[in-house]
Amino acid sequence: MSAKRQFRIWRGDETGGDLQDYMVEVNEGEVVLDVIHRLQATDAPDLACRWNCKAGKCGSCSMEINGKPRLSCMTRMSTFGDDETVTVTPLRTFPVIRDLVTDVSFNYEKARETPAFAPPPDVAPGDYRMQQVDVERSQEFRKCIECFLCQNVCHVIRDHEENKQAFSGPRYFIRAAELDMHPLDTRTDRKEYAQAEQGLGFCNITKCCTEVCPEHIKITDNGIIPMKERVVDRRYDPLVWLGSKIFRRGETPQTSVTTARQGSATPSSATRSGIHSHAGAPTTRGPRRRRRAASTGIGRCPTRPRRRSTTGAGFR
């Protein structure tokens, strides 16, 4: 069964644009991305969008549908009323390239700044051993498909462009949490890094990141709040501080924290010391793939390559 439906789609580029109306045929069982493809095949052949897997796993087709950040391939048309106009706009937080395609380089820059996984230097890759119970918390964050909906909806940068320098965003807070909770990660300064360099203190726990996550990762409850509590351990809890002095626990090297954001090309200390890295090491394939991912997207729905490289932590 098919019917004509009203769509309003933002068309334009960095110089300006506006919402344009389209009447388009919609069939039963379709998602918003199907309708956009039909528009490209009929009324708007030059409409730019970004997509890849159509299965909610590549994170490419992020856009705002009726004002809500969503994956267009996972937004069923049946969720709208029969006479409801569907408004589709690009992500607001990032610079627009054209139509529904935005430049998400901000996220790749923050990924490069984040210190990489640092396993024990005396354990070779392939010899990593850990118990499931120890690694479960980190595995939740590995579900991230890097659609950047959480980054887009976070009001800290969505409504305050000036905070982009100091704030990495929820995606990289769970990256920090993932590594801090990882049983084989040897860095002990991730809490300090999260607070001092990633801007964890900007987060005011309004949970929008969790609300929009298509992978249903409990970003706030399981990632950001535990990291905030770990920061409290180190910075604001005199009892823990006293205990660490008395029992000589939690002695923390501080040197690498202050240097980690001196330019996106600066490798982390783990990289400099030859430790395995997936985020910033010039010899890995990560940066090149990320640059390509950030640059694609103009024309008739070009694809964005899958890239897991920004989150490589030695296990899947």
């Binding site: 644009g17 919402l19 009726n66 120890d134 409504d159 305050h160 709040i225 535990p226 409290v232 694609t296």
Partner: protein, 268 residues
Amino acid sequence: MTSTATRPRGARARAAIAAKTLRTDRWWFAPLITVIGLSAWVAYATVRVFMHNNYWVPEHHYLTPFYSPCVTERCVEGAAHFGRFLPGWWIIPDAALTLPFLLLFRLTCYYYRKAYYRSFWLSPPACAVPDGHKEYGGETRFPLLGQNLHRYFFYAAAIISLINTWDAILAFHSPKGFGFGLGNIVLLVNVVMLWAYTISCHSCRHIIGGRLKHFSKHPVRYRAWTFVSALNVRHMQLAWVTLGTLALTDFYVMALAAGWFNDLRFIN
């Protein structure tokens, strides 16, 4: 590498979308309900705390949680389980030792932060709806830096829950000996809910085991963390339920003390 794609060229402008939000659902409903709910509760609690009356039912030893522990000179002797060592000025709540800590425990609670940042402070009022402020510094400086003290208020709240538990136990012993009525059930339900809310706190979850790197080395703490995590999922619901049980318990005790109706007694 061959690519036909356009590469980003430095800083670009965001899409020029005139509407502040394009959300079509009732995004304003949740903050509105939060404002109404919290304001109503605070108004009720303020009136009751400074009423200095109808907080103790001597026939059944019921003491409202709003006056526990009752420690000012104006407290009824039977209700003062921990002595009367504070002056009885009207401006001093009879439970002056505990109320500030309970207030701060809830004020710094991770759920309530979300609730009042959204509804009262409009920062933001809802997801993908613009922040109501031109500048934003979050919890990076005073006074919001104080939110990091939440765990200390958690410790205080745990002690206060113990006191409330003691009150509920004492209520089974009326002047006629052991007794059991509807008031006891109300007090018990309130205490159970208070414990559930207190234990489900994010700070408790961290302290009990969340801070560990290797759960496998601490199986007991891991099980405790698993239990707290299951409760933590319901932290928001428990936050509202406990506001309700606190107000309901206080109202029930007030009604009995004022003689509006009698307690339904099952035993003695």
